[in-house]
Structures are given as C-alpha cells and as structure tokens.
Symmetry: C2
Subunit: 340 residues, 2 copies
C-alpha cells in the first residue's frame, strides 16, 4: 500500500455525477493497481452506482458527505458553510494527508477557494495558479494562470513559470518545455507594466527555458509549451478558446446544411472531421491542475464523463510519483523566498 | 465640391500596394460621387496603375511622397524621420484639414503613432483607441481598444465606450448599441482593479446602453455590440481570434484530406463552406478606426485588396457625413472634461 497514490474524488460534482464519476473511478482502478480512490459524496447514491461494477474493492472507498455545492453558489460562502459537502470533505482529506490529490468536476469557484482556504499553499508560494491545458495544432500547451487571483505581480508570474515548467516536464512529459509570456508584440520593450517587469525575471531565471514573448495569434500553433500570463488575461484566452471554437464549428455546420450538395458532402466528411476535432481536445491530457498547493487539486470540465475522470486520476498518479510538490519546493529553495 | 468627403489613401501600404489601393480608389469613386480620394505615394507607380482605368478624374488626385514606411521599422522613428513617406504626408493632410480621413493598409505601429503625433487627439480625449470590428455569429462587434496604449485607466475606458457607441450607431448602423465590458465573470463584484473601477462609470453613464460584463466565451456569439477593454486584453482577443480561426480551419482542412471518402465530401461542401466563412468576415464592414482624433484614421488589413479599400473609403464617407467627431465633442461637453 505504501506506493499507492490516494485520490479523493468529488463524486457529486459535474453534470453527470455521480454516475460518470463512479464509472471513471472504477475504470481507473481496473487499469492501475497503484491508486486508491476515495469516492466522496452521498453514500447511498455512490454505493448504488458502484454496485453495478466488479473491480478491485480494496482500491475504492466510499466517504460519506451529505451536502453538495452547486455551481451558482457564491464560492466563499459555500466553502465556509457546507462543511459536510463533498468538496470540503475531500479537500480536508488532502489537507490532513489522508489523500494526495483531489479531483472535481464541480464548481470552479468552490474548487479555487477551497484550494486556498482548505488545502493551503506550499510555504513560499504566493499564489496558486489554475493551469489548464489548451489544445494546439501540435498537441497541448499549459496556460498559467486562469484562476481567480487577478492583478498578479511579476514575482508571482515567475513562480507560475517555474511551476508550469515542472508540471509540463514531469506530468505531461515535455522535455525542457519552452516558456513564453503573453504579450502584444515580440520585442522585449513591448508590453504593459506587468509584462515589462516580468520579462527580465523570466529571462534571468536559470530554471526555465524562456523563449520570450508570445502573441495571442501564435498560441493555437503550439509555439510554446508553458504560456505565462496574469489570470484576467488567461481567463479571456481560455474562454475565447472555448467560445470561438464552438462558434466556428456552429458556422461550419450551418454552412454544411445550407444546400443539398453540401448536406451529402457533410455525411461523407463526418467521421474524418469528428476524429480531427477529437485531436483538438485537451481533455485527453487530464484536467486543469491548481498548482502550488499542499497536495494536488485537479479541476475537470463540468460535462466530464468517465474517460476524463479516469485520465485525471492517472494524472494524479503521475503527479504523486514524480513528487511534483517536492520539486516545486526545491525550486523555491534554490531561489530563496520570493517576495510578495 | 462642398459636400465631398476627402480621403487621403496610403497608396504604398499593404501587401498589394499600390495595385489594389489604386484599384480600390477607382472603384470607390465610380460608385460614389460624394468622395474625393488623394492617392498618396510614389507618383510614377500610382500614375502607371491609374492609367489602366477610366473614372471620374476630378475625384482622384495623386499626391507625391517619395518614401515608404515598412512594417519592420520602429514606428516612432519611422514617423519622425521619413517626412516624405506616404503615411506622414497623408496624415499631415488630415491635420491641415486638406483631407477628412486617412486610410492605410501599412504598418499598424506607424499608423497608431502617426495618429497621435501628427493628426492629434480631439481636445479632451485622453487616448485614441483602435477599434476593429470582429465577426460574430450574428454580425459584427466593435472591440475597443486594441491599440498600443496599454495600462489604460477607468476614465479612458468610459471614453472608449462612448466613442464606440457613437461609431456603431452612426457608422455601422446599429441602433442603441449594447455596450459590455470584458470581464472574468458576470457579477458586478467580479474583475480586476481596472474593471471594478470602470464598471460603475459605465453603469452610471446616461449616454450609453450598458448591459454589464461580457465573458470572452460570449464574444463570438454577438452578445454585445461594443466590447470595451483595455488595449492589452483587446490585442489578445483580436489576435487569438485570428490565430484560432485559422488554426481551426487548418485542422478541418487536414481532417477533410485524411480519407478518400472525406476528400469527395470536401469537394461537395466547398462552395457552401466558402460562403459561410465569408459571412464570418468583418472586412466587409470596413477597417479599424482609430477614434478620438482630429479626423478619421482607418487601418485596414495588410493583405487588403481593392474591395476592402473601397469599403474603407465608403466608411470614411459615412463617418464624415454623420459628423462623428462633432458627436464625440458634444459627448465630451455634456460630461465635462474627463480627468486623466
């Protein structure tokens, strides 16, 4: 049991909970013997779902939590008041080192707040960035930070770059990941005050492979592996990615349905197009980690199904085995404490 | 001649200059009798192009300028040193009220710098925002500001909202345009310091139809007509729009070429898809105006062809006839001088 990574899964979070959460957990433990999954949530519902499957029973444990935090609730309130919710209970397990990682498809706000308030940051880490993987034409890039802490300062962005590099190298498996900062031009003198202040810190940091600025136009082309930005900008990039992608596909579909000729064509291209669009999907690399906490917190999409849950659990195993948080701590020690 | 709008066109700017610039000017004056176009640039080249066409000759005049500012030049330097360039010369005509508007497909940087240094801002306007139209599933929205002035302050954004509203209503023809501010959530308390400070200014401004925050996800759906943001964020949105659009289309094309079946389908859908994608093109509404200057400055794409040039010239006619700058000045008077 010592080498087992322990994952607390929010069985009640997401559009298809608990069904797909439980299914994903079962699939994960069937595939991997080095993980134990705690299914946290309403015991009766979880047990009922679980009863449909055969699986190595010692690898799944149900942990009862009677409350559920929903998406519309103000996160700070929800975390403070719903002490017996699946999110609060599972995060408390991470805090108490009864679990190494937490995975949730529930309220992003609650996960972000709970990460800070319950799990807590690694000593010396000033901000815990949310770092989703975004699809590119070449694979995937880590966009750090897309979280709730806007108006970050330059030393925070330096920490993001370092944590992001460690994550991409040891969890996603990109050797010597290229780090770039989101900017309005490529020249070093370009940018707003924050970027101008951050640029030299990144340039002079020996721990990362800094390649300079990245214009938003180049993000979808996979020009960099770790894309550093302040959370407001990251949020805009992430949401525009989602919105523009679906708007364009909607337009394409509309065009395909416009004539008889194109309707026939649409039938012919459907399988190939579906495969291509699946390639352009970051979910297969796991969920978005909230980095710099005393334990791993992973946010997956609200519409996540079993396969995404399984991938996220696998991601937690890699994170645990690679001792990512120890590597983050080592990085801090080398540099001394980063000022606020 | 009194009701003629006078447009100084940078005949040397863009990938297809002077050929497509001259052609666009000819097409414009053939269609509209209420415009005079000054073709500014290397006289010999322009005259040679012009000689291919018949057109109302009193509506086109060639203005010689021996130098050309190229895209790679540092803009401030270029504007200061190349006094006989098409951009500097044409902008000087606007400054001296020999022309009402300036159109260029040349260096964006030089156009932005020249707008500020040569044409100059309307008294009381603190910043001149670049406001491109971006395509949405429902038509087009004005994204203001995407220019070079990063780190704007709340009163600047209020001016952007007002100028953008006037432009959308009187040039693009959207009645009572909906104004929204780019934000990371919809609630009034969400946002970074700048957005939190700007939100109440917009909410309490009687001159605009403020509908609240807009998340980047909703931008492509045409949720608002005037999208207010600070230039760094606007630049990221504009460039990601371009980059993600072409990356997705590249992926779709790749998918279409992957099997024989999909190749046949691709042939069938091509005409319908082409038409759809053309609908998703903001160029048909004209170029990006640089607002708040003593005269109109319009930036069109570097790869602009005659049709885009013609549309931009038509846009200048509307701008002139609608007396947009007078409306902007009136707006300032009502509110008193806006503080820095």
């Amino acid at each position: 049991m010592e080498n087992m990574v322990r994952v607390a899964l929010d069985a009640m979070g997401g559009d298809y909970a608990p069904k797909e959460m439980v299914k994903g957990a079962v699939e994960a433990v069937k595939e991997r013997s080095d993980v134990k999954v705690f299914l946290v949530g309403i015991e009766e519902q979880i047990t009922k779902e679980l009863s449909q499957y055969t699986y190595p029973e010692e690898q799944i444990e149900v942990v009862g939590a009677s409350e559920v935090i929903i998406n519309d609730e103000p996160p700070v309130n929800a975390i403070r008041k719903k002490k017996d919710s699946s999110i609060v209970k599972a995060m408390t397990m991470v805090k108490n080192q009864e679990a190494d990682a937490f995975v949730s498809a529930g309220s992003t706000g609650a996960v972000l707040v709970g990460g800070q308030l319950i799990v807590g940051r690694i000593s010396g880490i000033k901000r815990a960035p949310l770092a989703p993987l975004i699809p590119t034409t070449k694979g995937v890039s880590l966009l750090i930070d897309c979280g709730a802490n806007v108006d970050a300062k330059a030393p925070h962005l330096l920490q993001f770059a370092k944590m992001g590099s460690i994550y991409m190298e040891h969890v996603v498996g990109i050797k010597n990941p290229r780090v770039a900062i989101v900017n309005v031009g490529l020249e070093e003198e370009k940018g707003n005050a924050l970027v101008k202040e951050t640029y030299p810190l990144l340039k002079n940091c020996p721990d990362i492979n800094f390649i300079g600025s990245i214009e938003a136009r180049e993000i979808p082309n996979g020009y960099a592996d770790v894309i550093v930005c302040e959370a407001f900008v990251g949020n805009v990039i992430l949401k525009l990615y989602e919105g523009l992608g679906s708007a364009l596909l909607h337009k394409v579909k509309e065009g395909l349905m416009s004539t008889l000729r194109s309707k026939i064509g649409a039938l012919l291209i459907k399988p190939a197009l579906k495969k291509t669009m699946k390639d352009f999907d970051a979910d297969k690399y796991g969920g978005a980690p909230l980095l710099g906490l005393n334990g791993l917190v992973v946010k997956i999409h609200g519409n996540a199904e079993a396969n995404t849950v399984k991938t996220a659990i696998t991601q937690c195993i890699t994170f645990g085995k690679q001792e990512i948080n120890q590597k983050i701590r080592d990085g801090l020690d080398q540099e001394g404490t980063v000022e606020q």
